[in-house]
C-alpha cells in the first residue's frame, strides 16, 4: 500500500533533531527531558483556572 503524505511527513520529522513545545501537565516535559530531548514547557493554564462560567463571561467581555 502506498504511504500517505502524512506518514511521509511524520517520518521526515523524526529523522531530524527535535525541539518540542509542550502545553499542559509538567510531566509531558519532564519525561522528554529525562530522554535528553530538547523541550520547552509553555506556562499556560486554562482561562479562569478552568471555571467554565467565568471563562464564558470573560469571552463575552472581550478578554
Amino acid at each position: 500500500m502506498e504511504k500517505s503524505r502524512l506518514d511521509s511527513d511524520a517520518e521526515m520529522l523524526f529523522e531530524q533533531p527535535l525541539d518540542i513545545l509542550t502545553i499542559g501537565l509538567d510531566g509531558f516535559a519532564d519525561d522528554l527531558s529525562k530522554l535528553e530531548v530538547a523541550v520547552t514547557q509553555l506556562d499556560w493554564r486554562p482561562p479562569a483556572d478552568g471555571d467554565p462560567v467565568l471563562a464564558d463571561l470573560l469571552s463575552k467581555l472581550g478578554s
Binding site: 479562569a48 470573560l58 463575552k60 467581555l61
Partner: protein, 417 residues
C-alpha cells in the same frame, strides 16, 4: 466589547495624566470637614465594625481617641469604642489614605497632594517612622508624644515651607526614585532623600527656631520611609479621577483593614468587593516570627494600584531581599507578572534595569481572573496584639475572590450572562 476597551483606555489615560504636587500640610478637619462631627475616625481598608477589627486596628483607635481627648486613657477608649461612641469610616470615602491602621481624625495633620491635571486633592498623614508607631497599632506615651510633635511642630513648618516652595512635583520624584532603587512601598530611601533635598532650603528659610529646624530635618532625614505617605497621597490623587468611568474594568483602589481586603473598580462605582485578607510571607525582626504577625493591613496598596510597590519590584532588587521575595535577580519576574494583568505601562515611570520598560499601569480585573494572577503587594507586618508595632516586612497577594466577585458584578451590570 469595544466600549470596555475605550473606557479602560480613558481610565489609564486619566491615570497617566495625573500630576500630583505636594502643596501643604493641614489639620485633617480643614481638609475633611466631616471630621468635625460625631467623633469620626477614619481607618484603612474597606468598611469594618469594631467587633471585627484586628488587634492593631483596635489599639490604634484607642490611641487616637486619647490623642483627640475623647478618652481619658486607653482602657476608657476601648470601652467607649465597644459601646459605639465613635463613628468608623474608611479613609477612601473621604479622599484620604493611611498606611497600616491608617488613623485620620480631626487634629491629625495631613499632607495635601494636588493633582494639577484633574484639580482634585488627596490626603495622607505624616509618616511616623519605624518600630512602635500608631500605624502598626502602637499607642503608648511615646507614640502619642510623637503625634503631638508632628501636629504642633513639624506640620506647621512643612506647611510654611511648601507654600514658599510653590509645591513639590511628586511625579518627578517618583520617576527619579525608580532609577535609584526605590519601589515606593517598602523602599523609599531615595525618594525620601530627594524630597528632603527639595524641601529643606525652604524649611530653613521659614523656620524661626534653630531647634525646631534641626529636629525636623533630623526626623525626616532619619526616616527612610518618610516618602511612603507622600507617595500614597499622590497615588490617591492620581486614582480618584479614574473612578466611575462607565464600562471600565480598571481597579481604582485596593486596600486592607487587617480583616478584609477590598477593591474598587472604575465601572462599578464605589462598591467594595471584599474577601478575607491574607497573611504576608516575609522576614521578621529579631525575636519575632509569623506566629506574632497580623494579617495584611493598610491603604498603602494605593501605590500598587498606580503601578509601584510590588508592581515595580524590578526597579528595586534590594527590596526583594528585604521583604523575603527571593533573590535580587527574581525582582524583575514580579514586574513582568504584574504587566500581564495590567492594561498599559507608564512611559514616564521607567525601570532602567529592565530596559526602561514602564511600570505596569491599570489593573484589569478581566486579566486577573483570566490568567489567575493576583496583584503582588510589598508590605510591612504588624504584631497581632495592639500596642507593639512592626515586626517584619513581606509580600502578600490580593485575594482572587475580590476579582471574581467584581467580574460577576460587572457582567451583570453590562447585561452579560
Amino acid at each position: 466589547m469595544e466600549c470596555i476597551e475605550q473606557a479602560n483606555q480613558r481610565a489609564v489615560d486619566t491615570m497617566l495624566a495625573g500630576d500630583p504636587v505636594l502643596v501643604d500640610v493641614i489639620p485633617a478637619v480643614d481638609a475633611i470637614p466631616e471630621l468635625a462631627e460625631d467623633k469620626l475616625i477614619l481607618h484603612a481598608g474597606p468598611p469594618i465594625e469594631w467587633e471585627r477589627m484586628c488587634g492593631p486596628m483596635q489599639g490604634a483607635i484607642a490611641g487616637i481617641a486619647v490623642f483627640e481627648g475623647w478618652a481619658q486613657n486607653l482602657n476608657d477608649a476601648m470601652s467607649q469604642a465597644a459601646a459605639g461612641a465613635f463613628n468608623f469610616q474608611p479613609n477612601h470615602h473621604y479622599n484620604a489614605v493611611g498606611p497600616m491602621t491608617g488613623m485620620t481624625t480631626r487634629s491629625v495633620p495631613v499632607m495635601v497632594a494636588l493633582n494639577r491635571s484633574s484639580g482634585n486633592s488627596a490626603y495622607c498623614a505624616i509618616n511616623e517612622g519605624l518600630g512602635k508607631v500608631m500605624r502598626f497599632g502602637g499607642n503608648d506615651e511615646s507614640v502619642l508624644k510623637r503625634l503631638h510633635w508632628l501636629k504642633d511642630s513639624l506640620a506647621p513648618l512643612m506647611s510654611d515651607a511648601l507654600k514658599l516652595s510653590g509645591g513639590i512635583n511628586l511625579k518627578n520624584i517618583v520617576a527619579r526614585g525608580l532609577t535609584m532603587g526605590d519601589e515606593m512601598h517598602q523602599r523609599n530611601v531615595a525618594c525620601s532623600g530627594l524630597l528632603l533635598r527639595e524641601l529643606s532650603p525652604y524649611m530653613a528659610a521659614v523656620s524661626t527656631s534653630k531647634e525646631l529646624l534641626t529636629g525636623s530635618l533630623k526626623f525626616m532625614g532619619g526616616n527612610d520611609q518618610f516618602f511612603l505617605n507622600v507617595g500614597m497621597a499622590a497615588g490617591k490623587a492620581i486614582m480618584d479621577p479614574a473612578r466611575n468611568i462607565e464600562h471600565s474594568t480598571i481597579v481604582t483602589a485596593m486596600s486592607r483593614n487587617g480583616t478584609d481586603f477590598g477593591i474598587r473598580v472604575s465601572g462599578l462605582g464605589d462598591t467594595w468587593f471584599t474577601a478575607p485578607v491574607e497573611m504576608p510571607e516575609g522576614l521578621y525582626f529579631p525575636g519575632y516570627s509569623e506566629d506574632d504577625a497580623n494579617p495584611d493591613m493598610g491603604d498603602s496598596t494605593i501605590v500598587e494600584t498606580i503601578g509601584l510597590g510590588g508592581f515595580a519590584m524590578g526597579a528595586s532588587p534590594a527590596v526583594a531581599g528585604f521583604v523575603g521575595a527571593g533573590a535580587a535577580s527574581d525582582a524583575a519576574i514580579f514586574t513582568k507578572d504584574m504587566s500581564e494583568i495590567c492594561y498599559s505601562q507608564n512611559p514616564e515611570w521607567t525601570i532602567p534595569a529592565m530596559d526602561y520598560i514602564g511600570v505596569p499601569t491599570g489593573i484589569d480585573i478581566r486579566r486577573v481572573v483570566e490568567i489567575g494572577v493576583t496583584p503582588t503587594i510589598n508590605t510591612g507586618i504588624a504584631h497581632k496584639k495592639p500596642g507593639i508595632g512592626q515586626v517584619g516586612a513581606g509580600v502578600v497577594r490580593a485575594p482572587m475572590q475580590c476579582f471574581t466577585d467584581a467580574l460577576h458584578a460587572f457582567a451583570d451590570q453590562e447585561g452579560v450572562s
